[in-house]
Amino acid sequence: MEFIFNLTPLIPLFPLLAFAIIVLFTHRHNRLSSSIAIGGIALSTALGWTLVLATILSGEHAWAEGWQLRVPWLPAGTTVLELGFAVDGFTAAMLFMVPFVCLMIFIYSQGYMKLGQPDQDPRYARFFAYISLFAAGMLGLVVARDLVLLFISWEVMGLCSYLLIGFWSFRKADSEHHIDAAQVVRARQAALKAFITTRIGDVLLFSGIALLYSYTGTLTFRELFRPETLETLQAISLLGMPAVTVIALLVFGGAVGKSAQFPLHVWLPDAMEGPTPVSALIHAATMVAAGVYLVARTLPLFIAGFVVADAPALHWVAVIGAITALLGATVGLAQDDIKRVLAYSTISQLGYMMMGLGLGSLVAGIFHLLTHAFFKALLFLSAGSVIHGVEHGAHIAAHNGHGHGEHFSPNDMKIMGGLRHRMPRTFVAYLAGALALVGIVPFAGFWSKDEILAEAFHLWRADGTLNLPFWVWLAGTLGAFFTALYMGRQLGLVFWGEPRHAAARHAHESPSSMTVPLIVLALFALLFGFVNAPFLGNPLHHLMGNVHEVSEVVHAEAIPFNPTVAGISTVLAVAGLLLGWSLYRNYRAGQVEPFQAALGPVFTVLRNKYYIDDLYQWAIIRPAVWLANFCFNIDDRWIIDPFVDLVGAAGRAASDIARVLDSGVIDRWFVEGTAQLFNAAGRWLRYSETGHVQNYLLVVAVTILLLLGLYLYF
């Protein structure tokens, strides 16, 4: 058993190697490259599942304590900072999901990037290299024993998201493939936006890590969460709060950036500019999951502050989660881009996870993370399949002479319609994902969302006042309704009604390399919820519920199934779904949207995402650019360089005075005078050079005469 655990470092290493091999050697061979990438992630999946099995078989002690491997890494004064790998119940739960979903996405990508077809993506191999690195980052994050490795993996993912979101910024604008120049620019800006926005969070996390390391001298999770360590952190006061709270908030800042929580959520919808498998990867298995994972991993820090001073770290998680859940769900109502709707849905669902964690329940949050990973990957891949089909349809339409030259976006739901007949397998998969997302029994989303709401409901009822858990529950329940509403709208727009464009009319089903992963994921979306179903005894709870027991502050006990909560949310979900579906299933092109008609100006606000992007543009980006130019001008034009040049000018002025003195007096009278003397002498003397031999001889004779006279008589 120990032997198998010792192979843990290989899990992130396989995709990392795949990345290195593709970039360095095989990037010219497309099929080989994608095979290497898929092989790498497949090996990781196999090893990961083996480890999951090994962990489960190792018994409860192993679930909580786990296994670890340490490497001395950074000499620090008299100590050495170690870096290492660890596997416990929580890791095992993640290891079940992450590599598998990645594998599905990889396989799907082969079809999506059109392997072997004439219009295959020109940077096909590079794409697989990047997603391999992405997977390596996430897997490294999951098996990290400490915050160092976690942060390294975390940032590697940030880099990959940058590379992949901007992946299509290299494309040439091309009307045949419906790529316009604006789209290329958007891809570029989206990549930058994603990186910088998450970077803000990362820097907060970085500060948190530095502070933690400063105060405790260690970054290993298990050592950080020792009661005595936590007590030390509680005792130190920083900015008027216990240090542990400050650190927890900083760490949460990192998660806010990475998991696209309000107010740093703005990058996620824009990230849709990347190829769809990337969206799936980011939204399901990797990037956004990392933030939630981080908060879950460091939950004792949040709770420790909560315990001592009723300090707000944990509350903040819940509040931000609730805000994000509602914000995402409402904005999702007003979007036209099929992937953007899903993006806002992701934001909203991530809010749910944060809500769960903010209530102190590790399992509720992570359970939702796991189920969400499956059904959101499913939804995105299905959406990709839809887009793929529509693009294909547009191709055929253009071929037949319909709608040629007319510009449209294949992502636009307004042009679709009636696709359930043309893409039946995709439709089934999409429907499964949608039902899971909305939370219909027995789909996975029902169980996980219910657990979060039940947790909130339970805490509210336990207290009895209109406390935070009440508001969280309310937000979650409302959010569930909105979720159902926008999913109903989407299903109606995409799959029901009549096709509203030639492209949709000619759309047809995607290749099996795409649909097979969809079916597999659909099965998981249907069944995965049972891993923590109350009537099966909450198995997930047992596996990972006790990983934080070393801290003595996190107590994990499963909340019993609450029919009231489940009933309310299910009724709302069904109502929302039906409402959305019925309003939109007969939507015709050009018609005013039913929601717009009903909501009026509110709809405009939603459509513009509460104007948050514009606010940032005005309040942050422009001032920053302005400040940069301002500083540059200080440097170059206004203060420093003028001063330096002034000093130089003063020096020159002084030297000018000296020059006048020099040239007027010294030079004029001494130096130049001498020169002129010789010049004149030369002018006169040259007349002696007559060229007449006899003149010279005469001079010789005179000289000899004089010398002779001198010699003889003086």
């Binding site: 000499p75 008299t78 100590t79 620019v185 570029r188 390391y213 130089g648």
Partner: protein, 513 residues
């Protein structure tokens, strides 16, 4: 007498300079070959010395001592420890790479260029190994003149090379004059020039006013070289004007002279004063970091941008130094924090040398092809030059501190120390990291590599008749970058081998204050 490593490392390049200068100027190939070959022994010896001495790098290694100018009481006294060894190695590495790179790119006055470059190397290495103030000062000045000429003569005509060269020269000279006066004052109270001995003699302890003056005088010299805000404006001009290899060594090594001086001289000589003034110096460090990053963001000239990023990155170094100096406590947790901060500072110098040196090489790559550095003139080059894109991306990411690459390690340690010792500064300084990502990705990567490639625009700046190597990175350019990339990854993934020596030396240094 042991094998005279340091003397050989220092003076073989000088010998090379003389040989190159005496060779007939007609045989350019032979000249270049000789110059490169003369830089290699130093590199090899420096590497061997590093590997040999890293274990016991807490104290001075490979000491050599000889009477030099008896009337001045000046000795030829050299030695290295864990702080100077990486810097000596960095110097020899970057010089060899620069000479190798220049062998392909320098076209005019070849002989003088290579002779001066080797002379420059001697000056730079000398500063890192000198343990006598007179010797230190002389080497300090020796490096100045060749750099001045490199900028002035081989600078790009459109970048005002003379103005830049003179600006560089005067800035540095102002500092070094102040420094020399302070050195003399120190000598008058201690009676020795020995850098290792002076700290225990408490220089100028009896005269606080003079001590403060001397402290700031020395600080000025080093701050100009680092360069710290507001003494930094020579840097962008010098970088812009200098030829590629000059920029590489300027950023890679010359800036480190100032940093090294602060650690080797300023901190041990005046620990109390340094602690007393740490808040002020910390403010300068913060301004350098944030201001440098902001100004960097406003640039449209690739070289200026990287030059300002140097200001920002050397601000990180200063922050680490200030954190280490802000307390004199040697109790264990605090000492560790201080050691980590100082480790971070030293490693930041090494990393900055590797990374920014690499960045300047990479600017050279595009500049040699297009003869422009205007960011607006590029775009979409990743499709045209994929290898260049990959290498540049990696170097840029190392520069912005991506974990897994070198820059992160030193930034992490600097902030780790700063958060423990001067948290307010650390919190403010964090902003610079975000800005770093912004200017590197937004300006460099996005404007040069992303977006749509325009054949028309490219034709305007690229003339195939003037470029005889492959369009993507040529082999010699890849060879030049390869060692730098190797160290970026090595330090980023497994920093222990590099850090062990540094850690031993900084711990010993701080414990001895």
């Amino acid at each position: 007498m042991n094998f005279p490593f340091l003397t050989l490392i220092t003076f073989i390049p000088l010998l090379g300079a003389v040989v190159v200068a005496l060779m007939p100027g007609k045989h350019e190939r032979a000249l270049k070959l000789v110059a490169v070959l003369f830089s290699v022994p130093s590199l090899v010896l420096a590497l061997i010395a590093w590997l040999l001495s890293a274990q016991a790098a807490g104290e001075m290694q490979l000491l050599e001592e000889a009477v030099w100018i008896p009337t001045l009481n000046a000795y030829y006294r050299v030695g290295v420890d864990g702080i100077s060894l990486p810097l000596v190695f960095l110097t020899t590495l970057l010089t060899t790479l620069s000479l190798f790179y220049s062998a392909y790119t320098i076209k005019k006055r070849v002989k003088e260029f290579f002779a001066l470059f080797l002379l420059l190397e001697t000056g730079m290495i000398g500063v890192f190994v000198a343990l006598d103030l007179i010797l230190f000062y002389i080497f300090w000045e020796v490096g100045l003149v060749p750099m001045f000429l490199l900028i002035g003569i081989w600078g790009q005509p459109q970048d005002r090379p003379q103005y830049s060269a003179i600006k560089f020269f005067l800035y540095t000279l102002v500092g070094s004059v102040a420094m020399l006066l302070a050195f003399i004052a120190i000598y008058l109270t201690t009676g020795t020039w020995n850098i290792l001995q002076i700290p225990s003699l408490k220089p100028l302890a009896g005269n606080p006013a003079l001590a403060i003056a001397a402290f700031w005088a020395i600080f000025l010299a080093f701050a100009i070289k680092v360069p710290s805000w507001p003494f930094h404006t020579w840097l962008p001009d010098a970088h812009t004007a200098a030829p590629t290899a000059g920029s590489v060594v300027l950023a890679g090594v010359l800036l480190k002279l100032g940093g090294y001086g602060m650690i080797r001289i300023l901190l041990p000589f005046f620990p109390d004063l340094f602690r007393q003034f740490a808040p002020w110096i910390g403010v300068l460090a913060l301004i350098s970091m944030i201001y440098g990053a902001l100004v960097s963001m406003a640039q449209w000239d690739l070289k200026r941008l990287i030059a300002y990023s140097s200001v920002s990155h050397m601000g990180f170094f200063m922050l680490g130094l200030v954190a280490a100096a802000a307390s004199l406590d040697v109790a264990n947790p605090v000492l560790n924090s201080r050691a980590i901060a100082l480790n971070g500072a030293v490693l930041q110098m090494f990393n900055h040398g590797i990374i920014t040196g690499g960045l300047f090489f990479l600017v050279g790559v595009i500049y040699e092809r297009t003869h422009t550095r205007d960011l607006k003139a590029f775009g979409g080059l990743s499709a045209k030059m994929p290898v260049y894109y990959g290498v540049m991306l990696m170097t840029a990411l190392a520069s912005l501190g991506l974990p897994g690459l070198a820059g992160f390690i030193s930034e992490f340690m600097v902030f780790r120390g700063a958060f423990a010792l001067i948290p307010t500064y650390a919190i403010i300084g964090i902003v610079a990291i975000v800005l770093g990502a912004a200017y590197i990705l937004w300006k460099i990567i996005q404007h040069v590599f992303l977006g749509e490639f325009s054949e028309e625009r490219w034709q305007k700046i690229f003339n195939p008749a003037h470029w005889h190597f492959s369009l993507d990175m040529a082999r010699f350019e890849v060879i030049t970058m390869a060692p730098l990339l190797f160290f970026m990854v090595l330090v980023g993934v497994y920093p222990a081998p590099v850090l062990n020596g540094i850690n031993a030396a900084t711990t010993a240094l701080l414990a001895g204050l």
